[in-house]
């Protein structure tokens, strides 16, 4: 029996391989060249944007750090400090632990939310993303409220411990795992698993030998993103670590913003780059190992049933971790100064705070946020789609594969490099025409878009890749030019994923705090900036308004994400199956 099952597995792998292995090239050479040229042109736009907005500024500021009297000698000096070594180790440790926990807890949720039907699923999918889009400071403070000495969980003694940091990282980033893996999972053909089951494989074995390998690329992608987010996390590290824990990110911030010690900061930035590159290389290996063509088709999503109980239990637990802080925040936003309950804080939002501490009413800030996020999401989806088309190819030549791999890394790098480095790089590098980008209001949405683009790419690439190439070939054989193939095969298949990615992109841009807190002109602040402002003032009215504004942001995020998700579901590319 065993060998039969084994054989089923190998047969399946063989079938998968044969799907991925192209036959003799059916197209005339000129068309192939045209396609290559088209792909290059597609890739050129996002790459150019990244070069200008990311690589050039970083190179300039790091170069300045090494241009000092010590020059490159500074590298050795800094690396020799035991403190720096500790910081690097801690950075890697906590990011890896956070990513591992996110995967562990996120996979059952992804299964529930993307492979099972139940009432309120769209809302649940949206709710899980809320912490990810709230300003870090709000999430951090909500966590501290729970864990503080006299908080509901004060007796656990976690306040200021590294466990609090990890819990917050999971709370924030589990959505990345759920959405990235979930989108891939939603389109996996069940029949292989059914075959395995009919041959007697138990559920765990099916999971281990069929499902997880099929999800490999998506899992690797999600893990890398979470790792990068946590490796560069700043606000959570500070708030929940009580300022005691130093990561490369917080250290770069300290050396640059407080000490103006550019040589040390540059060495740390280089270290960070090396670390990120190493992670990306490992991830690419993982992806290559697990990549295979999945026959995407509309799959059954059965009702939640008894056999899903373990997943439901995990799901509920994760839901508590994710939503606990948010619920605390919402409840507190409904408290009135007199100790009762009411909507006073919400009514105050239309005003400008106690003794008008804000230049503009919070409602105006909301409009600013929506405008900015819409532009950002559009840009991110456009750039992300271009990149996904290119990265989704499997070039036949080794050189082509190398180029694709490099492009992939280039797109991901911005996620793993210190904000402070890039920000200061901007100041010194992009300060003269024709590159004086400092003078456009588009900067805020552009900044947001560049943060969001890698997320979009990671969500779309697995979808593009898992499109059966034979569909494309069939269309080609029937005389469709490459663009038509893309329009009639790739696009419908990716549409659902694109909608999901767009929803996430918009929500993330909406809550983006890092860039906008520095960039915002005080006269046109976004909602997260206003929240940050209210939080930093004494007085119950301001605190209440901050909580109310954060709740509005959370609800807005749920609405947007749920709406776009539903839109994507109705546009389902019905019944496109394999052969």
């Amino acid at each position: 029996m065993t060998d039969l099952r084994e054989r089923a597995g190998t047969d399946r792998a063989a079938a998968a391989r044969s799907g991925a292995t192209p036959g003799p090239n059916p197209e005339p050479l000129a068309l192939g060249r045209l396609r290559t040229a088209g792909l290059l042109a597609l890739a050129a736009v996002p790459v150019l944007v990244l070069l200008v907005l990311f690589f050039y500024p970083v190179a300039v500021i790091v170069g300045q750090g090494f241009a000092g009297p010590d020059g490159v000698g500074a590298l050795g000096d800094v690396l020799a400090r035991s403190r720096i070594r500790r910081i690097v180790l801690f950075t890697v440790w906590q990011a890896a632990a956070s990513a591992g926990l996110c995967l562990l807890l996120g996979l059952p949720l992804a299964h529930l939310l993307y492979r099972r039907r139940f009432r309120g699923r769209a809302v649940a999918r949206a709710v899980i993303t809320v912490p990810f889009v709230l300003p870090t400071v709000v999430v951090g403070l909500a966590f501290r409220t729970l864990l503080a000495e006299n908080g509901p969980l004060g007796s656990w003694g976690l306040d200021g411990s590294v466990w609090a940091v990890l819990a917050a990282h999971v709370c924030l980033n589990v959505a990345v795992v759920v959405r990235t893996v979930g989108l891939a999972w939603a389109g996996i053909d069940d029949r292989t698993a059914d075959a395995a089951r009919s041959l007697g494989a138990g559920p765990l074995r099916v999971l281990r030998t069929v499902t997880l390998p099929a999800l490999g690329p998506a899992i690797a992608a999600a893990a890398v993103m979470v790792f990068l987010f946590c490796a560069t996390s700043f606000g959570i590290m500070q708030v929940l670590g009580g300022g005691r824990y130093s990561t490369i990110e917080t250290e770069i911030w300290r050396q640059t913003e407080e000490m103006l010690d550019l040589p040390t900061a540059s060495v740390l930035s280089v270290l960070q780059l090396v670390l990120v590159c190493a992670v990306l290389v490992v991830a690419a290996r993982l992806r290559r190992r697990t990549e295979r063509t999945l026959r995407r088709r509309s799959v059954r999503t059965p009702q939640v049933g008894r056999r899903d109980l373990p997943a439901v239990i995990v799901g509920v637990l994760v839901g508590l971790v994710v939503l606990g802080p948010v619920v605390v925040m919402m409840l507190r936003s409904l408290r009135t100064p007199g100790g009762g309950w009411g909507l006073q804080n919400y009514r105050a939002l239309a005003g400008v705070g106690e003794d008008n501490v804000l230049l503009v009413p919070v409602t105006d800030a909301l409009v600013n946020s929506l405008q900015s996020a819409a532009v950002a999401a559009a840009v991110a989806i456009a750039l992300g789609a271009m990149l996904a088309v290119v990265l989704g190819r499997r070039p036949r030549s080794r050189a082509g594969r190398r180029a694709t791999g490099l492009l992939d890394a280039v797109v991901m790098l911005p996620l793993g490099v210190s904000a402070v480095t890039v920000g200061f790089g901007f100041l010194v590098a992009l300060d003269a025409p024709p590159l004086d980008l400092r003078s456009s209001w588009l900067l805020v949405p552009l900044a947001q878009a560049l943060v969001v683009t890698p997320l979009v790419v990671r969500m779309l690439v697995p979808l593009v890749r898992s499109t059966d190439d034979r569909l494309r070939q069939a269309a080609g054989v029937l005389g469709a030019p490459p663009l038509t193939v893309w329009r009639t095969v790739d696009l419908p298949l990716a549409a659902r994923g694109a909608a999901g990615a767009a929803a996430f992109a918009f929500a993330v841009a909406l809550g983006e705090f890092g860039a906008t807190s520095f960039l915002a002109r005080p006269r046109t602040p976004t909602l997260p900036v206003v929240i940050g402002r209210l939080i930093s003032r004494p007085g119950e009215v301001n605190a209440g308004m901050a909580l109310a504004a954060a709740t509005v942001l959370a609800l807005l995020c749920v609405l947007v994400v749920a709406a776009i998700d539903l839109l994507g579901d109705t546009r389902r590319a019905g019944g496109i199956g394999g052969f």
Partner: protein, 387 residues
Amino acid sequence: MRTALFAGRRPVLAAALAGILLLATGCGSGSEPAGSTGTSTDTAVSSSAAGSGSSGTPGTEVATGEVVLITHDSFNVDEQVLADFEKSSGLTVTLLAQGDAGAVTNKLVLTKDNPLGDAVFGIDNTFASRALEAGVLDPYTSPEAGNGSDEHGLGAGDPDHRLTAVDYGDVCVNVDHTWFTDKGLAEPTTYEQLADPAYKDLLVVESPATSSPGLAFLLGTVAHFGADGWQDYWTSLKANGVKVTSGWEDAYGVDFSGSSGKGARPLVVSYASSPPYEVPADAAAGTPAPTGALLDTCFRQVEYAGVLTGAKNPAGARKVIDFLLSQEFQTSLPEQMYVYPVDTAVDLPASWTEYAPPATDPATVDPAEIATNREDWVQTWSDLVEG
């Protein structure tokens, strides 16, 4: 003046762009994104000879066009007050927030050759030396500087008058009166008493490594106990269960019992100006405040403004400095930025005179000494308290 706890977990380009400034031209006011007219501002750079230090003859010189004011991210101004200034001066003011006082100063130093704007507000006395030494400011003495501003100036530390004091704030320990009344415990009043075992586990402070009030409180202890005595004091504070947070937001909002967070600790490092905001809005005049500041534990922070060397619109920049010292702006300072105006002729808001008097004898440390020792002090503090 407050810590910035910004910077997302979403790294990079975001905050990245962070650093950017928008030398936007024709920045609209209000809520629509200013359609900038592009990048033409750099043509015909007619910066006045850097360092010429011409103070102009205020009042007679005509300033027009756009003026860019670099600020820290806690900057706030009444929109009406700003609009009045724009109308009377003919200038268009673009505000660019650049992080906290330290970040603002460092960005100015880094962009010295191609400044971010025309004028700056928000360099404080802990970073003043760095800005002066780097030579990023031009001398300017505003005709308004006699209003009390110069009493807070740097004096001999700034012989050319490159920095103009605009406001000041006192960082002091805040006490939750209600908590102590309920416990029947006498309140501490001095630094020394905070280390008294009677007040074990009651104090929460911000880390000087990550927070501006945290640094101010540390400097206060340096001034009070001397350069060789503060270390022992902190050792005793640690033994007495002091709690350290990374920023003011969570110290005050989560751990302090006298704020809406209803935390566990009745003593927190905050500002002399915090108590009025904890008085219920409907309280009758004369009601005792629920919290207060311990005026013997204060460190004075002063915030300065200056004209940037190489400003494109130096005349406009000088007008902005005059505006920051004007009576209208000075009057609006307390409620906009929670700080005290330098102008002695300006009346504080009623709730401030009642609940937020400034310290009479605040601790101070010479800005040059702060610049020299900041790193060592913070590192020593970390080893003592967190090590």
